[in-house]
């Protein structure tokens, strides 16, 4: 069998927790885990003449240290900003850069490198949280929709899609390339979009390629690349930097797609206007952090 190899490891509390929210969250999870572990560690005596119930699965069985062979797409709830994103997945690459993806908005929720994912809350006991989480050091993005339509400076970028309204954005599915690399497919109005986000071969970053087919609607359509309190760019426009997160966006200098910075009120946003002229060409950029 040509299977991806999952390396498991024993979780410890010596992870390099920072003081950020994720660290605190993981710390709380860890403490909960310890107390839960204490419970399941109780002596398990067989009934007289009866049978012994085996101990529950060890918690460490659910930590995926790394992925080998194939890209691993794991559907799960994703904890995000104190809530859950209910239709999402984490994507782990053998070459080492991983991300969380929101199928409701087409947005990258977080990116990280190194050990892949903690699936304990997906695979242990009843799995009360049903979540998959980065093991450590994730850079958290926002969950705003990838696409928006609005007249140029008038409106704030939408926070999500109204589920009761006509779905501008509709997720169709994903296909896997032979090595397991997913390409997410969705519709934005009459536009069909293929969104491929892949780890670079050295794991230094993620390259996103968005391909369009179908028709662009008559409104101004925007694609959100990144957001931050401040955004700086190199003089030739080939790199954009979000200083407060350290996120860097490399933009091919020959790309027909030209990003712009817009003010969303509290934040600056790097956005790309889609036009009938640029639609033919795939939109491509690389995220590093």
């Amino acid at each position: 069998m040509d299977l991806p190899v999952l390396h498991s490891r024993t979780p410890t509390l010596n992870r390099p927790y920072g003081l950020n929210r994720q660290g605190v969250f993981l710390l709380i999870l860890g403490i909960l885990g310890l107390s839960f572990g204490g419970l399941v560690a109780q002596e398990n005596r067989p009934p007289p003449g009866g049978r012994l119930r085996p101990p529950p699965l060890p918690r460490e069985a659910s930590i995926l240290e790394s992925v080998e062979g194939r890209v691993w797409v794991q559907r799960a709830f994703l904890p995000f900003e104190g809530n859950l994103r209910l239709y999402g997945c984490v994507v782990g690459s053998p070459s080492g850069a991983h991300y969380g993806y929101d199928l409701e908005t087409g947005s990258i929720l977080m990116v990280w490198r190194g050990p892949f994912a903690d699936l304990t809350e997906l695979w242990f006991d009843r799995a009360f949280n049903q979540t998959a989480e980065p093991i450590e050091g994730a850079l958290w993005m926002n969950a705003r929709p990838l696409f928006a339509v609005f007249p140029r400076r008038l409106l704030k970028y939408p926070e999500g899609w109204l589920v009761t309204a006509h779905p501008l954005f509709s997720y169709e599915g994903y296909e896997l390339e032979p090595d397991g690399q997913p390409v997410f497919i969705f519709h934005f109005e009459r536009l069909r979009v293929r969104d491929r986000i892949a780890s670079d071969s050295d794991g230094s970053g993620l390259t996103r390629q968005v391909k369009f087919s179908g028709k662009l609607n008559d409104w101004n359509t925007w694609l959100l690349v990144a957001e931050g309190a401040e955004i700086t760019s190199s003089p030739n426009g080939s790199e954009w930097v979000i200083p407060d997160s350290g996120l860097r966006i490399q933009w091919p200098s020959d790309s027909k797609h030209r990003p712009e910075i817009r003010d969303n009120g509290s934040n600056l946003q790097l956005v790309v206007p889609l036009t009938k002229e640029t639609l033919e060409e795939p939109l491509e950029y690389t995220l590093t952090w």
């Binding site: 419970l39 009934p47 007289p48 559907r75 209910l86 997945c89 199928l103 599915g173 994903y174 032979p178």
Partner: protein, 699 residues
Amino acid sequence: MKLSKVKKLIWGYQIFRGSVGCSRLGAWSALLFLCLSNPGTGQPPHNDHFALTERFHSESEAQILREAQYWERLPLPIPEGVIPEISGMVTIPDRRLLVTTRRGELWYVDGAYEDDPQPVFTRFTSGLHEPLGISQAPEGGYYVVQRSELTHIEDRDGDGQADWFRKVFKIPVSGNYHEFAFGPYLTREGNIRINLMLAYNAAFQSSVPWRGWILEVTPEGYVTPIASGLRAGAGAVLSSGGDWFFTENQGEWAGTSYISHIEPGDFLGHPQSLAWSHLPGSVTHLRPEDIPDTGLPLVEVADQIPGLKMPAVFIPYAIHGVSPNGIVEDTTGGKFGPFEGQFFFADSGQARIIRVSLEQVNGVWQGATYAFMGGFQAPVVRLAFGEDGSLFVGETGRGWGSVAPLAEGFERVRWKGNMPFEIQEAKIEPDGFTLHFTRPVDRKSAESLFSYGVSSFTYGYGSDYGSPPINRLSCPIRKVVVAEDGMSVRLGVLCLREGYIHEIRTSGIRAADTGEPLLHNNAYYTILSRPDGDRIVPLEEELAADCTPMIPEDAYKSTPKHPTERPDFFSRHGDQIIHLGTAPGMKFDKTLLEVRAGSQFQLVFRNTDEMMHNFVLCLPGKGQEVGMAALHMGIDGMANNYVPDSDLVLYHTAIIQPGASERLFLVAPEVPGDYDYVCTIPGHAMVMNGILRVLPADE
């Protein structure tokens, strides 16, 4: 426990209180009473010793060995690296299966049909979100129900690995772990049905649309609601005759587990789902406030509420399982044994398979349950017939209790071809039942009235977790007619009631050839309707029968072993107050309590879990023995709080409903030691236990 709650629980008992006095009896003596009394009928007392031992026959080792003479259980070896938490199975051509696991993997299984199976598992895909079922899609590929999506999965390039995951339907979820999605069940038109369970968060909730509903989805994703009122039912089947049946688990608004015949517009009982009955597409006009919370027998409430569906079959709790899951129809053409056209469902808590026969009477589906096979290695949740007529059994119970030794597994059951002596089917008659057998009965044993017993009971309908069997009644047997060929027996029975389970005891029957008793005694037939036709008992006699119910016990009063009232000698608070609770996954929140020998203490047991529990303090090392004894209490278990009448039991609580609590006033044993405490609800004791450490008084 709050008084109001207690009152509601024992309502079924109270309605008969006062007609006949009845002192507290243990489980066995209560049974004796049941067997010995036939009020007002003149029929001689039923004194068959067999009834006493076999009526509560759970799957003992001896019984499992008897079953193994006819059906062999082949555990399928699992290769290293595969965790067979099998949550869905589909048999596919060329003697293969495709199985889903709770870890989100899909595996092709080859070689599972062999006599000495050494299955080879090949991963088709991974990374799904808790898929709980799979079906072959008519247009190619497979439908899989994930937690939040009905997905069409295909291998488009034919390399043996899935490469296309199309969203068919985005399943509404709030994020709660209990929002299980079961299915996909293919309709004859090529649509897909999915059953969406409620969330559990201190109470069952339907916090997003269509939770608690059965939905039908077209391959393009268009949705039609079919039925409402689901709670946590993990199985459904489309019969070869085109009828839908659904299995539900005992709990709130489900007095016991049941099998329902599903028709569009049905409301099955849990009112939370009705929060969405105002939405476009809803097939019921019932609103949550239309559903009365009385604890009255379901049949009486259903008479008042049009649309509230009576189950086709009540599954007698603890007797025939505690947690029905997948259900299949035997369409093997006799390759699996003499039960073609009948159904089998998996019970995870008791790790066994129960048989079900269904018949349509006056347009209403009803039928009976029978024990079939126990002793599976892990909690049984999925069943699928293979092309050779053997039955594949998928097993997982992670996080949920079971009597089985393993947490997950994969097995296969094969009929050995020799004919067991079984009740082939119990069918309703205008004035009783006809029992069909798989082999001729010994005429002498079958003609004796004493070979049989019939009694009936039903379950209450309300917000409490489950219901004790209520309104029990012994049904006099007036006449027995044995067919000429010995293959069937017609029983003329008085006092039959619609909406009630009828326990048909057959322990006196012997086989004509070998003289052996039935492989499984007893059928539990739920009567909803009775046919017209020939009678063997005159109608006048039936109308004149005195059908006075028997008096069940009051299981909730304070007794020396169940001291809920403060004894006179007790100091105001006792020496200490111990608070004991529950933890998720059938556990006590504390597994070690300490008291001084002879000290007075209060124990407050609070059940914060979603299922009912009790607390039973036992002699040192005797907890499991008591737990096993409770397993054998059968229908009287509930009425006796599942506490065996045994010297091994020192103290116990009543059955505590989710969210309820009870306070006991206890005196610690004089002898120091580690005293076991367990929950004796069937299947719980093995995992839900702890130690009360009695320390020397002078330390």
